[in-house]
Every structure is written in C-alpha cells, then in structure tokens.
Assembly symmetry: D2
Homo-oligomer: 479 residues x 4
Amino acid sequence: MKTPEEYVESLKRLNPTVYIRGKLVNSVPDEPLLRPGINAISLTYDYALRTEYKDIMIATSHITGKEVNRLLHINTNRDDLLKKLEMTRLLCRTTGCAQRYLTHDALNAIYETTDRIDEEFKTEYHLRFLDYLEYVQNEDLTACVAMTDAKGNRSKRPHEQQDPDLYLRIVEKQEQGIVLRGVKAIVTGAPYTHEIIVLPTRAMTENDKEYAVSFAVPIDAKGIEMVSRQAGRPEDSGAELTSRYGQATAMILFDDVFVPWERVFLAGEWQFAGSLTEAFATHHRLSCIGCRAGLGDMLIGASSLMAEANGLDPMKVGHIREKISELIKFTESFYACGVASSVFGKETPAGNFSPEPVYANIGKLLQGLHIYDMFKIAHETSGGILVTSPYPEDMQVPSVKDRLSRYLKGREDIPADHRLKIARLLEDITASYQGGWYSVISIHGGGSPEAERMEIMRKYDLDERKSLVEKITGIRQIP
Amino acid sequence: MKTPEEYVESLKRLNPTVYIRGKLVNSVPDEPLLRPGINAISLTYDYALRTEYKDIMIATSHITGKEVNRLLHINTNRDDLLKKLEMTRLLCRTTGCAQRYLTHDALNAIYETTDRIDEEFKTEYHLRFLDYLEYVQNEDLTACVAMTDAKGNRSKRPHEQQDPDLYLRIVEKQEQGIVLRGVKAIVTGAPYTHEIIVLPTRAMTENDKEYAVSFAVPIDAKGIEMVSRQAGRPEDSGAELTSRYGQATAMILFDDVFVPWERVFLAGEWQFAGSLTEAFATHHRLSCIGCRAGLGDMLIGASSLMAEANGLDPMKVGHIREKISELIKFTESFYACGVASSVFGKETPAGNFSPEPVYANIGKLLQGLHIYDMFKIAHETSGGILVTSPYPEDMQVPSVKDRLSRYLKGREDIPADHRLKIARLLEDITASYQGGWYSVISIHGGGSPEAERMEIMRKYDLDERKSLVEKITGIRQIP
Amino acid sequence: MKTPEEYVESLKRLNPTVYIRGKLVNSVPDEPLLRPGINAISLTYDYALRTEYKDIMIATSHITGKEVNRLLHINTNRDDLLKKLEMTRLLCRTTGCAQRYLTHDALNAIYETTDRIDEEFKTEYHLRFLDYLEYVQNEDLTACVAMTDAKGNRSKRPHEQQDPDLYLRIVEKQEQGIVLRGVKAIVTGAPYTHEIIVLPTRAMTENDKEYAVSFAVPIDAKGIEMVSRQAGRPEDSGAELTSRYGQATAMILFDDVFVPWERVFLAGEWQFAGSLTEAFATHHRLSCIGCRAGLGDMLIGASSLMAEANGLDPMKVGHIREKISELIKFTESFYACGVASSVFGKETPAGNFSPEPVYANIGKLLQGLHIYDMFKIAHETSGGILVTSPYPEDMQVPSVKDRLSRYLKGREDIPADHRLKIARLLEDITASYQGGWYSVISIHGGGSPEAERMEIMRKYDLDERKSLVEKITGIRQIP
Amino acid sequence: MKTPEEYVESLKRLNPTVYIRGKLVNSVPDEPLLRPGINAISLTYDYALRTEYKDIMIATSHITGKEVNRLLHINTNRDDLLKKLEMTRLLCRTTGCAQRYLTHDALNAIYETTDRIDEEFKTEYHLRFLDYLEYVQNEDLTACVAMTDAKGNRSKRPHEQQDPDLYLRIVEKQEQGIVLRGVKAIVTGAPYTHEIIVLPTRAMTENDKEYAVSFAVPIDAKGIEMVSRQAGRPEDSGAELTSRYGQATAMILFDDVFVPWERVFLAGEWQFAGSLTEAFATHHRLSCIGCRAGLGDMLIGASSLMAEANGLDPMKVGHIREKISELIKFTESFYACGVASSVFGKETPAGNFSPEPVYANIGKLLQGLHIYDMFKIAHETSGGILVTSPYPEDMQVPSVKDRLSRYLKGREDIPADHRLKIARLLEDITASYQGGWYSVISIHGGGSPEAERMEIMRKYDLDERKSLVEKITGIRQIP
C-alpha cells in the first residue's frame, strides 16, 4: 500500500488537463488551490498504515488474498458494511469529507452489476472488471466517480434532448474499444485522483442506448479536460479546517475519448443502466451517512466547546443541553439507519454484500434534510461571534491586539484565542463557502431527497403492510 | 408454556380488587371492559406456540435450560436484543400494544441491578431474584410493572412532599418482610396480569431511603386495590382494532401491603434506585421502539389502502407518495435506532446484555415526537371520512343503506365497506380515545422526552467529540 | 334577533329526517346526542345579545340597515373582516367550534359570485340571492353548508365517475325550479340548522355542467334525509367541554329534491363553479383560522394550569416555558396570517370585501399542520395523567375516593379535583374522539393542505419575485 | 435630504479609525472591502428621492414638520409602523440588508424611553434627545447602533465579570459629560455611518449601574477605534449580489471616550436599562421581519427561475410546486406577524407608536428559525450546480468556453449564462460567507430565539387564557 507521500508522488506522474479560475494548472500536486483536497485523500493512505486503525482501515482482498485499503475492498459480509460505515465516519470527522469512499462504492456497484449483465447477456464485463479491480487494489489507486451528466432539460430523457451530448455517450464502437463524447458535470475530487470511473446517471430506455455506458479511464487520457473548483478555502486565514482539508468538484469534458474494451463495463445494455446507478447509489448513500456523521461529530464537539467558552455549561444550562442533545439526536439517528442498513445488508448473486436499501436511503435522506437543522443549532448555541469575530490579521495589529484578546474572552479560564478558534471552525464548516458546500452536497450528493423518496417507495415492502391491515380489518383489497 | 386459554384460566384463579367506572369487577376474565387487554396478552401466549414464530418468540432460559417465552427471557447476547426488538414489533402490529414486554424489561433490569447491589453491599437480592425469575419462567406468568409514583409536587423530591405517601414507601421492615404504603399511579395492563413488579421511579437521595424499594407481589395480595381504565373500546361499534385489542392502565393503591423478603429486590439502598430505574428504562425504551414500529406498520398499510380506496395510487400520485414515504421514514428511522441499540448492546457484570442506551433513548425520543407527525400524515392522506363516516348501525338502516353504500364508494372496484373499514381502523388508532392514548403513551410511556434528552446527554461521549475538535483546532480547553 | 331559546324553539317547528346510530331522530332539539351541537350554535345567539360583545357580534346590514348578527353579515370593509376573525375566535374558544360562521362564509361567497355570473351571463342570480339574504338576516337563521360531494374515485372528474350521482347534480330543470339528486358527504352541524346552502365542491368543465349547482333549501324539504354523527361526547362523564359543546357532521342524501328558482344561485354555469368554491374557501379559511386560535387559547391556558398543578411554574421551569411559548407561537402565527388577510382584504366588484387569499390560505395551512404539534406540546407539558386519570365515577367509590384525592394532588395548594378537571379537559379536546375530530377537521375542514398549497401558488405574485431576481442579475428569462 | 452622492461625500469628511484584515483604512468611502456596505446604505438615500417610493420612504417629521427619510422618523401612528415594515422589505429585497433601519429603531426606542426616565427621575434626557433627533433628521444622517457588549462569561452579570470592561461603562462622570471605556462587540455597518448610538444590551441591577448607559457620538470621536469585517464579497467574481451590496460588522473599542451631556440619554438609571433594550428590540424585531421578507422574495424568485432554467415548471411539477409554496409560506407567515404587530401597535406615553411586542417577537423568532428551512428549499429545488458551477473566469477560457456554455444549458430557450447567474446568486446568498452571515444574523441579530421566547412569555396575556380554562372547567386555580 502507498504512503501518503507516495500517493502525492504518483500524482506527479500524471498529467491531467485542469483549469481553475480561468488558468491551466501546471502541476496538480503543487497547486495551492487543490492542496486541501490532496491532503484529505492523503489521510486515507495515512490512516491505513496506522496500527490503531488497522481493523477498520484494512481488509483482505477476496481476489488476491492481500491486505488492501478497505476503500478498495469488495464487501464480502455484513461486518464489512459496518466497518465501511465506521471508516467513513472516522475519515470525514477529520477532513470534512475524505472523498475516496467514492472509489469503493463504484467498485462494489460495478462488481455486482457486471455479474448480472453477463448472466443476462452472456457478456464478459465481470471478468474484465476483476482485472481492473486487481490493478486498482495492487496499485492502491484512487478513482473519482463521474456520474452526474449535464442533463440539460430535466423534464426530458437523454435521447430527447435537443443537444445529443448533454449526457455522456458512445459516439463510436470500434474493434479495440469505444469512443466517448460529452460531459460529466459534478465530479468530486477529480483533479487529484488517478482514474475516472464513469457510471450512468439514471435508468435508460432503448432509445437512450448510446448513453448507457460505464468504463474506467486514466485521468490524463487523451481528450479529457477538467474545469475544477478549488478545494476548501486554502487562501482564507481563519479557515480552521478547510485551509488544510477540502474537496474540489470538477466538470469533466470528454472530447472523443477512446477507451479500450478491457476497461469498459457497460456499453449499450440500457436495461442495466438503472441497476448500475442504483447499485452505486445504495453503496454510496451508506458512505454519505458515515461521512456526515463525522461532520456531526465536529458540530457536537465544537458547539459544546463554544458554549463552555461562553461560560455556559452544556450539561447544566437547560436550553443549551436541549440543543446539544438535538445535535446528537440528528447525527446518531441517521447514523443508526446506516447501522441498520449494514446489519440487514444482503448478499448479491455476485457474492458481495450490498447495504439494505431502505435504511440506506432513509439515512441519506435524513442527513440531507437535517444538516440545516444542525447548522441552525450550531449557530444558536454559539452566538453571533461566528460571523463577526475579528480576522486573524486583526489579532496581530499592535495597537489593538491586547484589547481584542481581553474583550473576546468568554469564560475567565479559557483564552480568547481558543474561543476564536472554535468560532472560526464553526464559521468555516457552517457559515462559509465550504459550509454552503457541505449543506448543498449533503442534500444533493449521492442523490436528491426526491430520488431517495422514490427509492424508498420502490424498495419498501408496502404490500406486506397492506396485507397486515387487510388481515386486521378482514378485507381483501384488489391491488 | 401456557396456551392462551390457560392464561385466561389462570386469571380466574386470582382474585384482585379492581374498580372500573365506579364498579367493583367481579371476575376480571369475564369483564367486557377488560377483554381487549386480555386478548392482547393472550396473543403473546398464542404466538409462542406457533411454529412460524418460534425463532422470534422462544428462547432458552440460561437458568433452567428450558424453552421459555422470550418475553420472560434474560438477554444473553446481542442477538437476543435484536430478537426482542423484532418480537415487540410483531406483537404490537397486531394488538396495538402487547404490554407483556414490560415483564421482560423489568426482569432484565432487576437481574443486572441486584447483581450490582449485592456486589456493593454484600446483600443477597440477586440470588432471591433468580428464584423468582425461575418461578415466573416456569409458570409462564405475566407481570405488570408498577413504577410511576403519584409524585405530587413535581418540583420536590419524595421526602420533601407534604404527604409522605405520594411515592410508594416502606413503612416498616419486619423480620419476614417489608410493609408498603402508597400508590403507583400508572400501571399498564395491571388487572389482567398475575404479578406486580414494583420499581422505583427515579434516582433518590439518602433522605428518600424509604422510597427506594423494589419487589414482586401477587396481584391479589392483601391490601392491594386497583382503579382501572377500560382496555380499548370494547363498547364501540366501528372500533376495528380496539374492540378486540386494547390496553388498560390502573392506579394501584397499597394499603400496608406485606411482602416477604424473598420477593424484595431493593429495600433502602437508595444509591441504586436511580440505577434500577435507568436499567429498566433502557430495556423498556427498546421495547417501546419495537412496539411503535408495529403501530407504524399499521399506519403505513392503512394509509396506503385508504389512498387506493380513494382512487389515488400511492406509487403514482406525487403528494401521496411523498407522504407515505414520510411515514416509512419516521417508522424505520426510530426502528433503526433500536437496531443500533441492539447491535451495540453491552454485557453487564451480571452477564446479561443491555441495549446501548444512547440509541435506545434517541429511538424512544423520536417515536414519541413523531407519532404526531405520523397521525398527521395518516389524516392528510385519508381525508375527512376518518371522523365523518356513518356509524356501522347506520349502514344497516333499510331506507338508506343502499344509497350509503353507493355513495361511500371510492375506487370503482373496491367495495364501500372495505373503504369504511380502513377509515374506521384509522379513526380507531389515531382519532379516538385509543388514538389519543397511543399518542400520549408514546410520548410519556417509558419516560418523557425531557427524561430521554437528559439520559442522552449523560450517556453520550461528549468528551470524545470535544477532544476531536481540540485536535482539529490545536487547542486544549480546560474542562 | 332570536334569543338562544327562540333558536331552539324554531328548530322544533322543523321536521328533518335524521338518523343517528341506526335510529331515526324524533325531535332534533330533544335528542341528547345532538344537544352539544345545539348548545354551540345557541351561544352565537346568546353572545349577540350581550352588550359586552356588541361591537364584535353585531353589524348593520347593508341591505336593510338593521342590526344583524355578524354571522349573517356581508363584509363591507376591512374592519368587518378583522371583526369576523375576532368573532370566530371568541365563539370557538368557548365551544370548540361554533359552526355558524359557515353561514356567513357561504352568504358572502354567493353574494360576490352571483354578481359575477350575472355580469357575464345576464342572469338574475344576484337579485334572487339578495331576497334570500334579507330573509335569512330578518329571521336570524342558521344555515349549514353542503359542499363536499361524495367524490367517488378521486382521480376522476364528476362526469367521469361510473356512478353519475357521486357529485350532487341537477337531474331536471323545470319551469318553477330544479330537481336534485345525489349526496353531500360531510355537512357540519346539519341536523340542528334551519337551512341547507349547497355549493359546488370544485372547478368544473363543460362536461360537468349538471354538477355546477348552488341553492338553498329548508332542512326538512321533501326528499332530504340525513345520516348524522353525534355532536361531542354527551354520554361521556369526564368530557369537560364536549359533553356540553360539540359538533355533528352529517351526510345529506338528496332524493329528487325540488328547489324553486328563487332559491337557486347557480345552475349549469360551470365556468363559475370553481369561482364559487374558491370564494367560499377564501372566506371560510379565515374563519377556520379564528376558530382554531380559539382552540389554541384553550390549549395554552390548560397546559399552563396543568403545569402549575403539577408543581411546575411555566414562567420559571425552562423546558415548560419553552413549550408554552411554542404553543403561543403556533397559535398567534397562524392568527397573524388571518390579521394580514383581513388588513389586505379586497373589495369585490359586488362591493363586499373578501380576505386576501394568500394569507388566508397560509394561515389555514399552518393551523392544519400545526394542530398536531400543539397537541404534542399539550401532552408533553401535562403528563400521562391525560389518558390515565380515574373516571369521575371512580372518584365517588366510598372505599377509595379519599385516597384517590390524596394521591392525585400535585401542587399542595391546588385540589386534586382541579388537577383532574384540567387533565380531563385536555383529554377531551386532544385525546378523545373529539380531539381526533379537531385534528382531522383542522387539516381537512375548509380544504386540504394540498388544496391550500395549490391556491397559494395560484394567487401569489410569483412573477413579481422573478422580475426582482431578473433585475438583480441583469437577465431577462423567457417565461 | 441627501442624495446618495452627498452621503458618500459626507463620509469623506469623517475620519474614523478602522482596521480591516490587519490594515488601517485610509478612507472609508474609497475602501473596496467596505464599498458594498456603502452601496446598501446609499440605496436608502436613493429610494427616498424617487417619486414611486415617496409614500413609503418619506414621512413628515412630527417635530419639525419637514419631510424626512422614514428611516429617521418617529412613528406617530399604526400606519407608520406598517409602512416601516414595508420599507424594510423594499430596501432589503435589493440589498440583502439595508442596515439603516437600525437608526430608526434606536431613535424610536430612545424617544419613548427617555420620556419614561424623565417622568420617573425628573431628568432631562428626552428634551436633549429631541435636539439630537432634530439634528439627525435635518442632516439626514445614518447612525449605527452599538448595543451588543463583549459579555465575557455569559453566566454572569456585568458587575460580576472578572474584567470590569467587558460591558461598556461609565468610568467617570464629569461636569460636561461622561467618559466611557470598553467595547461594543457587534456593530452592523459601523465604519460607513456618521454616528454611533450606544444602547445597553440587557436589564441591569443596581450593582451594574455604571453599565447602564446610552448616548450618541460621532464615528470619529477621540478614543474610538473599530475592527471591521468586510462588507459582502467585493473581491469574489460570481458574487452576483454581494459584490455590490453587503454588510460589515465591527467591534468598536472605546478608550476613555468623552461624550458631552447633551448627547447622553441614560447614565446610571439602571432601572431603565432593560426598558431601553426592550424598546429597541421591539422596534428592531419588526425591522428584521421586513428585512428577511426581502431576502425571502429573492429566494422565492431565484428558486422559481432556477427550476424553470432546469426545465421544471414550478406550477406544474408537483414537488417543485410544493417546495416553492413552502418558501412562500415561511416568508409570508413571519411577515404576517409583522403586519399584526403593526396593526395592533400601541401608543406610548411619549406619543410615538411601538409595535405590538408578542407578534414582533414571534415574527422575528420564526424568521430566525426558518431561514435554514428556506435555504434548504432553495438548495433542494436548484440542484448541486449551486456550489459546483464553473467560476466566471473559466467561462472565458477560449479552449473550453463554448463547450461549457453548451453543457450548462438547462431548458433549451434559456441561455446557460442566465442559468449560471441565478445559480451564482443563490450560492451568493445561501452558500457563501454571506449566506452564512445571513443565517447567523437572522437567528442572532436583534436577539436570540431564547431571548424572543422569554419576551413572548413576559408579554403574552397568559392569565387571560388561564381564566378562560378556569371558566370552562368551573375551577378557580390559585395563582
């Protein structure tokens, strides 16, 4: 397995085309605007080497028998699901979002879906994928997941769009591979990964056939260009967390990109576009739950420390206690859905384990809806200082710095500087660009609430509950 | 194990003093106002004998090695906790509330707490209790749990009350046993059980010593009188569920009741009053979660059937779909907390397993708070017919019955009678006295939201989250 | 104006066909099951004669210049709207729901809509209606409003239903009048009113023409039969409020009922069915707001008294204070929407004033959604006693009554009997059949939340807000 | 009245000491980091000169009889209150927050409170204040309001703090005036106003006497230094609103600042510190309601346009329609509380009109709590593009710009650029630093939810509701 340094080193050997703020990036690992993103992924390499996290970060590959980073592991039992959940919480409570679990979720989704496609169409996607999987595990790579298409007019299907390239599509099938054109619109962490794994973004009809495509491609393959946002707030003094750890999202443009067949996992079998989307979503929603529970941990800790720094004991002051208990309630109730989803996970015909989908969707739905309530509570318990504290530079102005320190003290035995750092952390994660990002990504990343509600209804055994009521009332309703 | 008939028979051999609506009950098993309660408990005997429920309803006693009803079982591993949770859901989705899980929760709480008391004070409560436990298991009994004291002025402790008997207390310790006086104010199912298990209702101080008491006593012991509410709505035509299944609560008056030492499990060790209360609450809150999930199942099923009967397909009509998915979200998210509480349950020094308390409390808190939202959704999806449908008797009036049947039809292929029955079931469980009872009991039974929030704060590892934030910000805050 | 006694007397001169619980009612004013409903309407006659309520209860008819009960008044300015709002709060805070405001809302709706129909079709509905209005005002009558049709399959329009009579319809137009067949499914207060005012329940298409009908008919006209629910809980001891005041709803069957033209206000002009429905809804939603604010007043008062009786001062105990303040927040925020709706009310071409519809709909929506939160708070602040207190009959049992009184005391200086009465009132209005009725009627009476959301969207000036944003961003979006 | 240009010009004649980001500001009107704040206040001068806003922006001074900007007007009737409310909505829907209403609220609060102090203590504060008021009106000035003290340990009163200067205090009373030391921690708009009006931040006890102080002082008085945050996001391309309009908050340090008696409005009369705080809060909470309704207008408009640009018609797509109607519900329901507060406003003994406090507090509470729900809805309806759209600079990169424009189009007839601008506006106001600021300031600006709940309980006529219930139940509870 790679060390964090080797991961960064390996990025230097790649040469992706990345634009940020109108400029072409010379070297991704040297670009300050991307550094927080690289740091966040580095942590996934770092923790895997630490003995205290071995149980949670390391798994034994069921294809090679070697130890691999759990983020590249195919879940082979329910305990793997539970550990994946715990791992994402562990990684994200330090980084805000460790991003690399996307690789895990895509690998598992392709693993189980290619098996189904081969079963149905006698294709060989699954075998090809096993080779790719082994490569990724052996090289200890990170792949970004390119799923979200541009989508154009949301009320139309891919083939109905005026512009045919608004969903990424196969423009040509060749003997050696396929040629792709179009765009993937929101790809987390893209610039500082090794590989792009492409997945379809929705269920398709026969007319959408050319859009039913999945494959993997190196980040610097010919014809690929990215337009990226910065990761975190590297230029903002006072960004307590996100000057160090952050997440970039990029648009990836595909300009007639060639992908050889051995890296293609779906190419026209439109019947399975939805299955693959859904398989990924199910794995990924469990990851989102763990990730946001990590953010919840930060909010719980910071709100408690802030209340203390203000002189209000969270265990004793009634309204503070109630609010902190609400933060815990929100965080642990969506996390509990992740636990139930793991515990009731199911083996697929391919032999891997997939989270129970109803609980995965409910947990994801809850974290998306309640992140706003959690921010509200963090703000309510902390006070206006969150967005009004002096900038770090002001605390250095000789003529005022002593008075600022005096006046910004809350509880007598806690230095003003501590109080400010907690306030700035809370501002950083709830009331800055990054705070906005966390909330939007909580609600839309991994699927919108509307998508989750649909999925809940599709997967829940409503008939069983209807039968129960029919039994109680002695009726037999026509379905 | 007893058959349902043997359970009813056994009640005939007891002779408790019970008043309902101002009258003394001659024979509990023959009292129509209590019949729905007896039926609900009968089901726990019935299901235990059915092969399809064996795995969930039957356990092997760790003290006798015999098969026992799981409701009388001491949990010996995490799987027992999970099965207990599933069992309560199973029993309550048919009866509304099966009540007998209270016996289970009290047995487990006394089991683990007497062990702690003996360890601390070299007493012999635990051994005594084991005998009692064996008796209860062998006879396949049902015990009600008498916990809630009258409490008087809620801003005062037991010993501070003007009237010394507002919390049940030991008025005399004799060589053979103790003498009790006072009242337990809200005892579910009391009239139709075999035994009363008494538990303290809160933590005590040294001054409250005489109130720190726990014991078991037969329901018809000398000096015990009960004033009971009716169980369900046995006299209401149209009570689709609760004319058959219901729950009574009773006040139990203790008028210098003698209890021999072998049935006493706490008598003055005030240091453990809170522990015992809390141990019971932890087990019981898990039961409440399962129970209310069963009610949730009914609401989900009935709301779906009602929408269909109205001609609105719950999978296709957007606003109905959204609401049913909300019902599922509420039900399964608090149930997931029960699952997490079971999965993370812990072994006590006594060797039994206790639910993880934070998740148990969050799950209980959620079901209490959201029962109201669930009723709202059931009402919103179903329409005004819930409280305006003609009475069953009206459907028999010759001059109008045909027209009523014509006009009360919704979807063409569903008989009006089916639609009415579902409407009446929903009225019964959400908009009748019993519906009110479910909501109040959801919020207060097993502890109020305030109590649960306190417990969440006491049990959550807040320090760990504070350390996390101290690490992120590089500060070290004084505690 | 009539005295309450004259109102009851006048009911005796009518002879409607009413069934309750399978029996034909001999005399409505003598039927115990309807008495609480009669009492509630009596109060509207009573208060109109009291000098302290003159300003709010009495208005000067703009057609006759005589003083009339405001409940029969056509609003001629904004102040009339505000006073109507205040009047409904006043009447409903004592009775739970005074019902007779429905008459007011229907009169106003027909007043303004007939004027529009005549303008469009050169008909004479408005003039006819003025005569009817004068008659109602002079005789000081009460009319029930029959609006809600049976509706059958909710996904189909009236003319699409398999059974043509699922919406009330004109089966024949004769020279002297029209003949009606079908049913109105939920008519509040019907048995104990003088007149039935029929309104269409929705917008219609040309094919639904025969269903576009509005008229007034005496309650005992030939061919009319009613199947009624009881009003309140007249037979329940312990029904603190609703043994005295209640509301019945009835299904009204129309079996080829003849109505002369002078009492017909719409007969086939389908273009105005929606307008009339909507006009009524707008007036009525304002009434619902006032009515539920009255229920809110009871809940606020009773929850505060209950907390006190429990020994918890609502001003000092943090979590109680927070909850009572939430009750106030809910009640007064939807009431404020009623105030805004009144203050921004608009004059119609007919010259009367109609509430501003967006605020009326938002207020109605809020009261329907939040009634459940309000019940939750009432339960949370009061405790389990709400559904577990001994029945009044038990408090009379000689052998236990003294102990019950001792044990049911909370704060030392408040008699147990007071505490019980407040608990029973809260049970009565939140946790009994009547409590269920209040919640369902709050959400569905006067239109469902879904209907209100549609209306909000139709009436809100969304374009104005879009223009604002176009101005800010400098774009001009194509509509 | 000043033109916007004259307002900016007038700032040049002042010379305040202001630090931002560690640097001393040379000239406030030339400082780019403050420009958006200046622009927002300029708009209040601009609109006052426009004929279309005359009715709402201009009032006739009751002291001079001259026309004045309504923001400097003393409310002399209820209509003034309603117009003030409408004015804040108008100004803030364009600027996000126009800030200058703070001047209005402070002037009104001091007006009515000095009258009470003089009445009680025979002082002359009111007369002095009238002179100051005339000066402010005649010069058409803007004053910032310095209220929030540093507060130190929140569980202690001013005089109990270890450091005596954590609340601003009078260190010396001299013949000509008073000398002040300490800090005001959060002062909105401070650097670009003419005057500082100081108010106490809470009720005081006799021991806190020296902290009971109110006065006005020019912004560049000797001994005053400010540490300010930037206003808006002037340096961020893509800040659609806040590169132009924004708000700065500053800490103001008072280093033995002398204030002559004619500008002192409270100096030691601790009995009135709370009254003055509360009087300001009442006026100001009404302003907050209007201000946030303006933000609501932007959110409603932008969310609707965004949905359209995505190809989803807000009137037709069910879940979008529901969400937009929720945005309207939140915005207009708190605004309705502002309307009710105005309509039920009361005349003070000084002759001005003050908003009805219960409605003002409920409205303010609602906008603070629901701003988070509103952001959630804006995010939910708009999609991930809010935080992932390419930067404006990227849209200029020659090699990719055409493809970006193609791919970022939603509905075919709406240019990508329009869609991006709306997305960026929503990011700007909900998911950037400024979005965080809006949410925190909504919840804490003008008082925390906790403070508002306390005030609601203090001002609500709870006794009246208790009497109602006593009447219904026939009890008479001891208070």
